[in-house]
Amino acid sequence: MSMALIETVNITRKYGKQEIIKNISLKVEQGEVLALIGPTGAGKTTLLRLLDLLEAPASGHIYFDGREVTDNKNRRLQTRRRMSFVLQKPVVFNMSVSDNIACGLRWRKEKEATVSQRVNSALELVGMTEYSSRNARTLSGGETQLVAIARALAIAPEVLFLDEPTANLDPVSAARIEEVLAHIIGEQKTTVVMATHDMAQGQRLAGRIGVIINGELLQTGSPNDIFSTPQNTRVAELVGIGNILGGVIANRDNELVGIDVGGGLIQAISDYHTGAEVHALIRPEDVTLALHKDASSARNTFEGSITRIFPVGALVRIELDCGFPLLTVVTRQSAQDLKLAVGNRVYATFKATAVHVIKRWN
């Protein structure tokens, strides 16, 4: 029987009366990289703390390697020693970099020869060898993060927990950390569970993503599943699907349906029957803009007027009123070429296959 390395069954956690974690059942397989994404305050950190056995759940069960580790204090310590955790704001002990990295090994009563060999290879791994005798408190934020990662890796954990590994860092340090993590994931085959609010980072590093919002695990799946076919509007919003249109399936022709979104009929692919209340989810980047109606193969073309234009990094987001609100993004260059301005009338086009249809629950 194949057993997940970590399994939680209906765990909950409360702080006072507030439920931070609500009935989460989750399996983490040996060797996988799982990213927990969700907004700040969703419960990602608390879930990591429960998985690392730093806290105990109010109810539910946690299994590690097939054994229940919910309560027994000694078993929790022994199990915790097979894992390590890099906190969101890592702290270093007031001692040298190499002594910091050695801590976990010394607590496991490893021989000094093993300790120094493991410390050196951990330092090498994060590229901090020349810092080994520096007091760790004198390091910058990015360096502190690297030392914390080296310290967590020195014990050769079976599971590595990372809480927002690049939050609070400048882009250069963040890129370096991510490079180190990608290397570890690729080379060492360590099981990794990381919390991040950076969707793209989850996509880059993880094989599987779990979405946590408001203490609930709403969806788990491959990055592609999560980003293209979110199961509900909360996940859709989180992963940046800018158009979430409520409507009713008005007609059907084989798998092609027409969704009345109140002000327009959107063509989409769906199994839901006529009369079903649904949400049509459309990524802004799948919507193209043109000044004239052209003979495109795309099923959906709507005329609308621009209500708002605002730059986002290298792109420009355009809000349209097509009888229903529609959000799209274009490059700065196209925005200039098309001379887009508020009040202009334009044509928005997207394919029926670009529309993801989900049942309306709420």
Binding site: L77, S84, V91, C103, W107
Partner: protein
């Protein structure tokens, strides 16, 4: 005025010439207070850890009581120890009344709240992330306490030094249970008190200067610790 001036000059001479009586009294004071500080530290370090690292009902109240006892009056402790160790008292069988031993006991009782309270607040002042990090790296409860003490070492040391400072400068307790016996239980503070009342200002002033010097050394030490 001239009397005070002459007294000061004589006092300085007593110190410079390492007058045997002055040195003996100062040495005894240091020895008694160092002993009581060491015993109090042996009690307070583990006890502070137990109180800080455990959750139990009434913890907040207990810490409030400890902090209230920071200003425990020395004469109240003196009275308590006197009652306990006087020949009719429950601990009278030890026969240590009016000896350095009973002074040590009294000073231990006196400075435990101060040391304990300061150790607990030093431990509380360490970042919660320190203990989380230690636990996540596989530290047992004891190993986690050790690293937390290590992180809080300057605050803890300051607490120990404050305890010593209170022990060496108190007078009421030493006078009551020690009895200021010359060559046996006479300490700096009891000698100053006695010599001043006798009008023998030279010795009192010399000892006063030594006490202030000790206080100065303690303060410099504390400042250097707190600046780290």
């Amino acid at each position: 005025m001239t009397e005070l001036w002459e007294g000061l000059v004589t006092a300085v001479k007593l110190i410079i010439s390492l007058d045997p009586e002055v040195m003996q009294i100062a040495g005894r004071s240091l020895a008694i207070s160092a002993t009581s500080s060491a015993i109090a530290a042996l009690i307070c370090l583990p006890l502070g850890a137990v109180i800080h690292f455990n959750r139990f009902p009434g913890k907040r109240t207990l810490i409030n009581i400890i902090q209230t006892l920071f200003s425990l009056p020395t004469v109240a402790v003196g009275l308590f120890v006197f009652v306990m160790f006087s020949s009719a008292g429950p601990l009278g069988g030890f026969g240590i009344m009016f000896s350095p031993a009973v002074m040590v006991v009294g000073q231990v009782v006196l400075i435990i709240p101060l040391m304990l309270g300061l150790i607990i607040s030093a431990l509380s002042a360490t970042d919660k992330a320190i203990t989380d990090t230690a636990v996540s790296l596989g530290a047992s409860g004891f190993q986690m306490s050790v690293i937390t003490f290590r992180e809080a070492r300057f605050g803890v040391l300051a607490g120990l030094i404050m305890g010593f400072g209170r022990a060496i400068s108190e007078v009421g307790l030493s006078l009551m249970v020690g009895g200021n016996i010359r060559g046996f239980t006479r300490t700096i503070t009891t000698a100053i008190s006695l010599e001043t009342s006798k009008g023998d200002l030279e010795l009192a002033l010399a000892l006063g200067m030594i006490l202030i010097f000790i206080a100065l050394v303690i303060n410099i030490g504390l400042n250097r610790i707190q600046q780290r």
